[in-house]
């Protein structure tokens, strides 16, 4: 049998090599599709988990309300109020933020001036408009960079996480110390480092913004009617945990912060009584805090955008699955047909074996060995491809190509799913090819 296998390999080595290479490539393509489908399904589930069955209402301050007698705007468009209003607004925010039956997402995309900014024009909040560019103030150069301020509930609602760095403690954020921990978007990775301190200008005059970490690339949130508002070039600034705890040293900043912080989105379960429920919550909170000059409007676009985005993702998943199934079918067809073709060329050998009195079992074993030779070659090619992928994916201090002995470990740890998919498909393919050739053999012998 060994001699026969040797002859087979010697005569058809080029063909077996091509077929093994083709199967490896098709397996690679299927693995890419599996990864792509997994990622798309993951995003779809993430969307559904985060937004399904929820609706959003926006609450804001009615600064022009006729009943509003303690809040007034001066000639420079600055808003003033007395201590009573300050207390009631702060309490309104804190009560709303502490309720467990709603998500109160307080977010505001307010640009922040940064002194001697290193990032360049692309981070300019007014990029592409007449207002873009740096400005001078007290012998310092400032740029108004994109920033988004948000509370803990918003941060957690959108599942924001760090690519690297350390998450700050929300309870310890204290604007009185004029130091705010910040997180930077992915585009900042090569510009600032963790621990760097940026000095801000208006509206957070002379605050020290300390970099705690970076967001992963393409981090996005639902903001201002945009279902995917990308934060890559934004700095994320946390709001103080409690507005009441922030003692106003700078009166205007407190006014600005209070107005910004109580303007947020309330997310509740999407049912018929959603509006009545939110109105009831606001009425209770307004009564307890003494602040009732708020506005409320229904953001029905939230549910609409969500449904439409899910429809697109769903369609993409279905499309991917269809293509994946088709690729698998093609892989199986091509592989079996090519093997069949080769087998037919060798049918005289098998007829001779039959004439010489060899059993059918012996010939099946021979076929199995032939198939095994090809799949050993496929496995070798696959290992080479995975090795190259690991070299490409990881820096040399993590995966040193010279240390081959750690390759199996990395393979099991990092590419276990790909390995399983490839192994599963190979087994299926080998069995199918064997069954095909066995039926061909039966035809020849009969």
């Amino acid at each position: 049998m060994k001699g026969e296998i040797k002859h087979y390999l010697k005569k058809y080595w080029f063909f077996i090599f091509l077929q093994a290479l083709l199967i490896t490539l098709l397996l690679g393509l299927i693995t890419v599709f599996v990864q792509f489908t997994t990622l798309t399904s993951g995003q779809l589930h993430h969307f559904e988990d985060s937004f399904h069955g929820k609706t959003m209402f926006t609450v804001g301050v009615d600064v022009l309300a006729e009943t509003n007698t303690t809040l007034y705007i001066d000639e420079e468009n600055r808003i003033h109020w007395d201590e009573t209003v300050d207390h009631s607004i702060s309490l309104f925010y804190d009560l709303l933020n502490q309720r467990s039956d709603i998500h109160f997402l307080s977010m505001n995309s307010q640009s922040t001036s940064i002194r001697d900014f290193h990032g360049g024009d692309l981070f300019d909040a007014f990029y592409g408009t007449e207002l873009m560019g740096e400005y001078e103030l007290n012998d310092n150069t400032y740029l108004r960079v994109k920033a988004i301020q948000m509370n803990q509930q918003a941060f957690e609602f959108f599942d924001l996480e760090l690519a690297n760095g350390v998450m700050f403690s929300w309870e310890e954020i204290d604007y009185n110390e004029r130091t705010i921990p910040i997180l930077l978007g992915d585009a900042y990775q090569d510009i600032y480092e963790i621990g760097d301190v940026l000095i801000s200008g208006a509206p957070f005059e002379n605050f020290e913004l300390e970099v705690y970490g970076f967001l992963p690339p393409n981090t996005s949130i639902f903001y201002f009617y945009e279902p995917n508002y990308v934060l890559d070039r934004y700095m994320v600034m946390p709001y103080p945990y409690s507005l009441q705890a922030y003692v106003p040293i700078d009166h205007q900043l407190k006014v600005f912060l209070s107005l910004a912080m109580i303007s947020g989105d309330i997310v509740v379960a999407d049912d018929e009584g959603a509006l009545a429920f939110v109105l009831n919550v606001l009425s209770i909170v307004g009564e307890l805090s003494g602040f009732e000059d708020y506005l409320l409007w229904d953001v029905n676009l939230f549910a609409t955008h969500f449904t439409r985005m899910v429809a697109i993702l769903n369609y993409n998943v279905q499309l991917l699955q269809a293509v994946l199934v088709f690729c698998m079918a093609i892989l199986f067809f091509i592989s079996t047909q090519v093997s069949k073709h080769l087998f037919k060329r060798r049918k005289k050998h098998y007829q001779l074996f039959h004439t010489l009195g060899f059993s059918q079992k012996f010939m099946c074993k021979l076929i199995l060995r032939e198939i095994r030779c090809m799949f050993i070659m496929v496995s070798i090619f696959l290992l080479v491809v995975m090795y190259l992928v690991l070299i490409g994916l990881y820096p040399h201090d993590i995966f040193d190509p010279a240390h081959l002995f750690i390759f199996p470990l990395f393979l099991v740890l990092e590419m276990n799913r790909e390995l399983l998919v490839a192994a599963g498909i190979q087994c299926g393919l080998a069995i199918l090819t064997y069954l095909c050739l066995k039926s061909e053999l039966k035809k020849i012998l009969n």
Partner: protein, 311 residues
């Protein structure tokens, strides 16, 4: 007379190869349209500019690339999301449409509208009225139902942006060329599904894999064909048939196989969907033919003839 390989396996392999390529091509086209749909027809590399329309149209560097110009007319209508549109090449780009066709010239006042947009009926068909002017509705935006483009109105041939100051966005398939032409970079603040699904990583991988697989499969088909005909080539050469004539004979036999595969596929696809775009298939057929002949001639035919000469 030598028994020819008549099982049709080569034709079958060719059909599967073409179907495989067509499926991947169609998938990438649909994915591109979905990305456009999820990002209000923008690629995500669009550039906001403070230049006005006249300034942009007079830029020679910009005219050298195929670009699209968009301007959102905010707050004009409480219901519709109105965008003005211009492109210097109407054949190079296509938005996702569920019905109708794309604009054909910059001079025609035409509109593409979403499914929720209210239209006015006139004698010559449906129109969208904007700023006192009627725009002929030529298509419905959005591949899916519901679609993110359901409230969108895309207007062609409008002079509105010449009379009003609007924020303009310039977009092109080649973002680097666009940035060079405009002298500024793209700042992406909105994300399409391409960004969250990392299509920038997966799409080139799929394209590279499909190219490699197609090339390799062509090589295998050429090899299979050679296995089938090499004895015939050898004998015909030995009985004195001219090398070029022999090559012509083999070429015709290959052509017949490709033609059969193409005809079967054409008919099959047409039966499945009479509206299917067969131009891709035709193009692929020619390409396949060229590659197959090239690989067969360079790798196998010469070898068979040389072997015959030696024997």
């Amino acid at each position: 007379m030598f028994k020819k390989f008549k099982s049709g396996r080569i034709e079958l392999l060719l059909i599967f190869l073409m179907t495989f390529n067509m499926t991947l091509h169609d998938y990438l086209v649909v994915q591109g349209l979905l990305i456009l749909e999820s990002n209000q027809l923008l690629t995500g590399h669009e550039i906001r500019t403070n230049k006005n329309v006249e300034e942009l149209l007079s830029l020679e560097a910009l005219d050298e690339i195929n670009y699209r110009l968009f301007a959102r007319v905010a707050f004009y209508s409480p219901y519709d999301d109105i965008w003005l549109f211009y492109t210097n090449d109407f054949s190079n780009w296509m938005p996702p449409l569920s019905e109708g066709s794309f604009f054909n010239s910059a001079h025609n006042k035409q509109a593409l509208v979403g499914q929720n947009v209210a239209l006015t009926e006139r004698n010559d068909g449906l129109v969208y009225v904007f700023n006192g002017e009627a725009y002929e509705v030529v298509g419905i935006l959005g591949l899916l139902n519901p679609s993110l483009l359901d409230d969108m109105v895309l207007l062609n041939g409008s002079d509105f942006w010449k009379q009003h100051e609007l924020d303009l966005m310039v977009d092109a398939n080649d973002s680097e060329l666009l940035a060079t032409a405009l002298g500024s970079s793209s700042v992406n603040e909105r994300s399409d599904i391409g960004a969250i699904l990392e299509t920038d990583f997966f799409t080139p991988m799929i394209v590279i894999y499909s190219w490699l697989i197609s090339s390799l499969l062509i090589l295998i088909i050429a090899y299979l064909y050679d296995l089938d005909v090499k004895d015939e080539v050898k004998v015909r050469f030995l009985i004195g048939e001219n090398q070029f004539r022999l090559f012509g004979r083999m070429l015709i036999s290959l052509l017949v196989k490709i033609r059969s595969a193409l005809v079967i596929l054409f008919v099959g696809l047409w039966l499945l969907n009479p509206r299917v775009n067969l131009s891709v298939l035709g193009l692929q057929g020619f390409f396949l033919l060229a590659l197959l002949i090239l690989s067969y001639t360079t790798l196998f035919f010469r070898k068979s003839v040389t072997k015959a000469r030696w024997s």
